[in-house]
């Protein structure tokens, strides 16, 4: 799947969360339930991503080993789905919908404001490393147009002031 226009993945700003051997053993334990559940690769990858913040190279190895997929298969699946990441991610991903209903309801201004507040272009982490803006396809919250999600938390309709306040709150929360 192509990256949205203007989105460039930059090298990680946030230090990678540890996937030391103890954490990997926990992952191994948690993967056991998927062995009896044919096809549950996406669920297994969610577990890895929830533990480490992204699907780390070591967890790709572990998932392929435990569930019996070739590594290339697991990597191919991870990179197919936009909710999976192969790089460390900022704590808050601000996903603003850029599709038609939200566009009509003023998404462009919200995106502009968020870009300024975050201080980075879509797809890039903020200088302090806690925030990232993503321009995403319809999130199915169109009655809340213009709508956005912080990770999976839905907000809308959002105003320009609202998006400024929201980003400030997220930054404060992190201190």
């Amino acid at each position: 799947m192509t990256q949205a226009r203007g989105q460039v993945d930059r090298s990680p700003v946030v230090p990678s969360p540890s996937d030391d051997s103890a954490a990997l053993e926990t992952l191994r334990d948690r993967l056991q339930e998927f062995k009896n559940e044919p096809g549950s690769l996406l669920e297994a990858l969610y577990v890895a991503q929830d533990m480490f913040g992204y699907v780390t190279p070591a967890s790709i190895d572990m998932v392929s080993e435990e569930l019996g997929y070739p590594e290339a298969h697991v990597f191919g699946v991870v990179t197919f789905y936009t909710l999976f990441y192969t790089e460390p991610q900022p704590k808050h991903i601000v996903r603003i919908c850029r599709d038609l209903s939200c566009h009509i309801a003023g998404a462009e201004k919200i995106i502009e404001r968020a870009r300024k507040e975050i201080g980075a272009h879509p797809g890039e982490a903020s200088a302090d490393g806690v925030l990232k803006l993503e321009l995403v396809s319809c999130i199915g919250q169109c009655e809340k147009q213009p709508a956005l999600m912080v990770n999976l938390d839905v907000h809308g309709p959002v105003s320009e002031q609202g998006v400024s306040d929201l980003i400030r709150r997220l930054r404060e929360e992190d201190q």
């Binding site: 549950s40 996406l42 997929y69 197919f80 566009h103 199915g140 009655e143």
Partner: protein, 427 residues
């Protein structure tokens, strides 16, 4: 005319998603009756006479689909609920999953019994956090209360049901891509035929229906086929449709209405019309995939027959466009969506979607030439041969807008935006 409340009857009750509340309203009594007192063939016939057609956009007769699956001797058979809902402008499945998850689960139980299946999946797009939570809770409650498992509702029927999450891919709403995703693969579509009824998930006979389709099923068992038929507008339409309204509209939201009401009724009757000072420029009747219709087409019926106006009913996501919206920009939004969501498997779609985006970007930045309009049509012609429905539909809203709003597109070639709102106007 008030809204018709059938599928959405419970959604505004307090704690509507909880099992005791659902049961108080008759919940699971229909499945109990179906499994305990009716023959599978009888249920399939009931669905056939009710006129229920799939709400996922293709409107395939549900009873016939079930019949095909049951007729295939290959086992095991599977039942799947498609909750991937990712068409821009569409959010009705989300509301049903969040507010009344047991209703469609009850429909799935009845479907499973009708086709003799003991295993079902619910596939929900990964972005739908609350729906995932509520459906997960609902399934746990079902297992804890003998509604799922080895003895469904005390009838001795065995049915297991699993919730699976998508992870951000519109294409996984396409049934064969969804099967691949469920099998732990990339969500690329498969060649059809064979059709899912004979070769679905794990290459086994599979019933796959939309969330809203399943939600209709218990109501048909409860109230009868005739009741359901009569809910629709005109002879060809059965049941209600949950229309989603968004864009330039006073009251965005979901409206459950007779299948086949007119766009005028939905937009101006239920939706309260456009915000003050805005006038209608066009509307898309079925999300991004649907070509725009013009204000003189407000009296068309919102049902599958809308195809005769070169658009589609899709999932009933109506997007209202006002005079301040630049139609080149609107077409660009659709093109961007399809470019982003193209799975990259076949060339016409993988190459065609970014080409359309580039042309529309040129037009919006004053760099377009008149030949671009012809070129868009040519790209569209090549995309018609795409592997799956995504590519086969993706170009139509773009080419359709360029045809219907030809003068506006030409104005962009000449360096101006009549609506005054796209980048060309800001330079």
């Amino acid at each position: 005319m008030p809204e018709v409340l059938a599928v959405n009857k419970n959604i505004s009750i307090e704690n509507s998603w909880q099992l005791p509340i659902f049961e108080r309203g008759g919940g699971y009594s229909r499945a109990k009756r179906a499994l305990g007192t009716m023959q599978p063939e009888e249920l399939i016939a009931l669905m056939e006479t009710s006129g229920l057609k799939g709400r996922g956009g293709a409107f395939f007769p549900t009873g016939m689909k079930w019949k095909f699956v049951r007729a295939d001797p290959n086992t095991p058979r599977y039942v799947i609920a498609n909750g991937d809902e990712s068409e821009p402008g569409t959010f009705c499945n989300r509301i049903n999953m969040e507010m009344d998850p047991h209703l469609f689960i009850e429909g799935m139980i009845i479907a499973a019994y009708a086709v003799d299946s003991n295993f079902a999946y619910i596939y929900i797009r990964g972005e739908y956090g609350r729906a995932i939570e509520r459906v997960g809770e609902a399934l746990a409650d079902c297992y804890a209360n003998g509604i799922l498992g080895d003895d469904v509702l005390g009838t001795g029927y065995k049915l297991d049901m699993r919730l699976r999450r998508g992870a951000g891919a519109y294409i996984c709403g396409e049934e064969t891509a969804l099967f691949n995703s469920l099998e732990g693969k990339r969500g690329n579509p498969r060649f059809k035929p064979p059709f899912p009824t004979n070769s679905g998930v794990w290459k086994k006979p599979t019933v796959i229906n939309n969330i809203e389709t399943y939600a209709c099923v218990p109501l048909i068992v409860e109230n009868g086929a005739e009741w359901f038929q009569n809910l629709g507008e005109g002879d060809d339409n059965a049941g209600t449709k949950i229309y989603c309204l968004s864009g330039s509209i006073n009251n965005p939201g979901v409206y459950e209405l007779p299948m086949g009401v007119t766009a005028r009724e939905v937009i101006f009757g239920y939706g309260g019309g456009l915000p003050e000072g805005r006038t209608l420029k066009g509307f898309k009747p079925g999300g991004a995939s649907a070509s725009v219709l013009t204000p003189d087409q407000l009296d068309v019926r919102l049902d599958p027959s809308i195809a005769k106006y070169d658009t589609i009913m899709g999932t009933g996501g109506i997007i209202v466009i006002d005079d301040t919206v630049c139609m080149v920009d609107a077409a660009y939004r659709d093109a961007l969506f399809f470019e982003e969501e193209s799975c990259g498997f076949c060339i016409p779609c993988r190459e065609g979607t970014p080409n359309l985006v580039q042309i529309l970007e040129r037009l919006m930045h004053g760099q377009g030439v008149i030949d671009d309009l012809r070129l868009m049509g040519e790209i569209g012609d090549s995309m018609a041969s795409s592997f799956c429905g995504l590519g086969q539909f993706a170009y139509r809203p773009v080419v359709g807008a360029a045809k219907k709003y030809h003068d506006e597109f030409v104005a962009h070639v000449e360096g101006s935006c009549p609506a005054g709102t796209c980048p060309i106007a800001r330079n």
